[in-house]
């Protein structure tokens, strides 16, 4: 999803004029974003956007506000995340792949992954998570399984999943099995894919 596509998907929101004015203002006066950012949900609504699958109106509006900044994207991103409520934090996380910030926002991913708020955890594992080192990424994927976040939210899952993640998933599967509790089906499937052909015992047999 690009910024232009999000912008187009926002055309039908309750108060599109508010968003247009806010975007113009932020382009000329970047500090104004701290005022518009928390108010976005009240003007654009919080409904899912039919033309932007996976995005709600408030998330998309906040993302395009961030892309409208003329400069200092990394600094504003950090401030708006750290001073944001849960919805603002989630919007920042989802916007990261759209911003010219390199790997500067990796500390925000670490913060989100440390929380037990599954909405933040899920939002931290989108395309921008390619900047996470592999140890942190594996722990985050395992935390998804542990907290019931569907693995469908994890970008590049099969490309990045490796033997070490398989060992960690097998360990969790063994604990769950011993406790008489189920593994999520998507985690069992992933473990099966990772162990297929390697001779390792699959989760289904464990």
């Amino acid at each position: 999803m690009t910024a232009d596509e999000l912008r187009a998907a926002l055309r039908g929101v309750p108060d599109p004029d508010w968003l247009d004015a806010a975007l113009r203002r932020v382009a000329g006066e970047p500090d104004a974003i701290t005022r518009f950012f928390p108010a976005a949900g009240r003007h654009c609504g919080r409904a899912a956007l039919p033309d932007a699958p996976g995005w709600t109106a408030d998330e998309a509006a906040r993302a395009v506000l961030l892309t409208a900044l003329p400069t200092d994207h990394a600094r504003y991103t950090d401030t708006l995340y750290r001073q944001g409520d849960a919805a603002e934090k989630r919007a920042v996380l989802k916007a990261l792949p759209l911003l010219p910030i390199g790997a500067a926002a990796v500390p925000l991913l670490h913060d989100a992954i440390r929380t037990n708020d599954t909405r933040l955890l899920a939002a931290a594992l989108g395309p921008y998570a390619r900047h996470l080192d592999v140890a942190a990424w594996r722990q985050a994927v395992l935390k998804c399984v542990f907290t019931g976040v569907p693995l469908a939210v994890v970008a590049d899952l099969d490309a990045r999943a490796d033997g070490e993640l398989a060992v960690m998933l097998a360990g969790l599967a063994a604990e769950r099995h011993a406790a008489g509790r189920a593994m999520p089906a998507d985690a069992t499937d992933l473990l099966d894919r990772l162990t297929a052909g390697s001779g390792r015992t699959s989760a289904r047999e464990a």
Binding site: P38, R42, H43, D117
Partner: protein, 284 residues
């Protein structure tokens, strides 16, 4: 029966409480920022606390199907500590958050000059951010505290209908009834108010602008006393509609003045008398 607890400190409660509250009909709560029992010594402790009131706690409530909103303020007790005063400068950014539906708890604890100043400053913030105000009344020297509270409210210029004066009882209710402010009562196991006494006050003063809360926190308190009060109302002849007014529609109307109360699908379940009222979404 649907219940909106307009004052409860869920941060201090367990998930067992959320489960029991949801089972008893509590579908929405407002959590005012307040003192945590252990005095804080720096503004950073407050921002972490405020962040949890607009972050983790609404998420936790959501796991049990309970809608969570907050009120944000520097409480009267800690307004007396010079190390905590800079919190006043941090409030504006929280008063712009979606989940913040009032400035509160503000008011008096020991009625010091420092409390005077913080109270007036935060009423001005309520006006500036177009929010209602939740006003705590002192536990000691209460009647005079309420009189002084009402004088400060009048002086501030905030519209009385956007102010709720909390922790009232048989003595102090008389002082507030004709001011135009909303009246709130905290139902406690031993202190403050009890369900039977609350029913008597509703009989004597009517149900208009009356709010009933549990004010449950880390002290001896009970988050189900809103439900117990509703039961006591029914047992003494109040109608289901009276109960719905006091325990749902009144708090929705009061906090709805913020334009930020978001009850989502709960709003759609409203009875016919409430249909068509747009204050739930408000603002836009």
């Amino acid at each position: 029966m649907r219940i909106f607890d307009p004052h409860i400190h869920m941060t201090s409660r367990t998930t067992d409480d959320y489960e029991r509250m949801a089972a008893a009909g509590v579908r929405a709560v407002v959590e005012p920022a307040f003192w945590l029992g252990q005095p804080r010594t720096s503004p950073a402790s407050f921002t972490d606390y405020f962040d949890s009131l607009v972050g983790w706690e609404p998420f936790r409530a959501g796991q049990f199907g309970v809608r969570h909103h907050a009120t944000i303020a520097l409480n009267p007790k800690e307004a007396n500590d010079p190390r905590c005063r800079p919190v006043l400068d941090l409030l504006p950014r929280y008063l712009e958050k979606d989940g913040v539906v009032a400035v509160g708890e503000i008011g008096y604890d020991s009625m010091t000059p420092e409390e005077d100043e913080a109270f007036a400053a935060q009423l001005a913030l309520a006006v500036a951010h177009d929010l209602p105000a939740l006003v705590h009344t002192p536990h000691r020297d209460k009647a005079r505290g309420v009189e002084r509270t009402l004088a400060v409210v009048r002086e501030s210029g905030i519209e009385p209908g956007r102010v709720v004066v909390d922790h009232l009882n048989e003595v102090t209710v008389k002082l507030v009834r004709d001011t135009g402010c909303w009246l709130a009562f905290s139902i406690y196991p031993d202190t403050k108010m009890s369900p039977p006494r609350m029913v008597e006050l509703l009989r004597a003063y009517g149900t208009e602008r009356m709010l009933v809360n549990s004010a449950a926190d880390w002290g001896r308190s009970d988050p189900l006393l809103t439900r117990a009060t509703a039961e006591a109302m029914l047992a003494s002849g109040f109608s289901e509609d009276d109960v719905d007014l006091v325990l749902w529609r009144n708090p929705v109307e009061f906090y709805g003045q913020s334009g930020r109360l978001d009850l989502g699908e709960l709003a759609d379940e409203a009875p016919a008398t409430f249909a068509g009222n747009s204050i739930l979404r408000g603002g836009s």
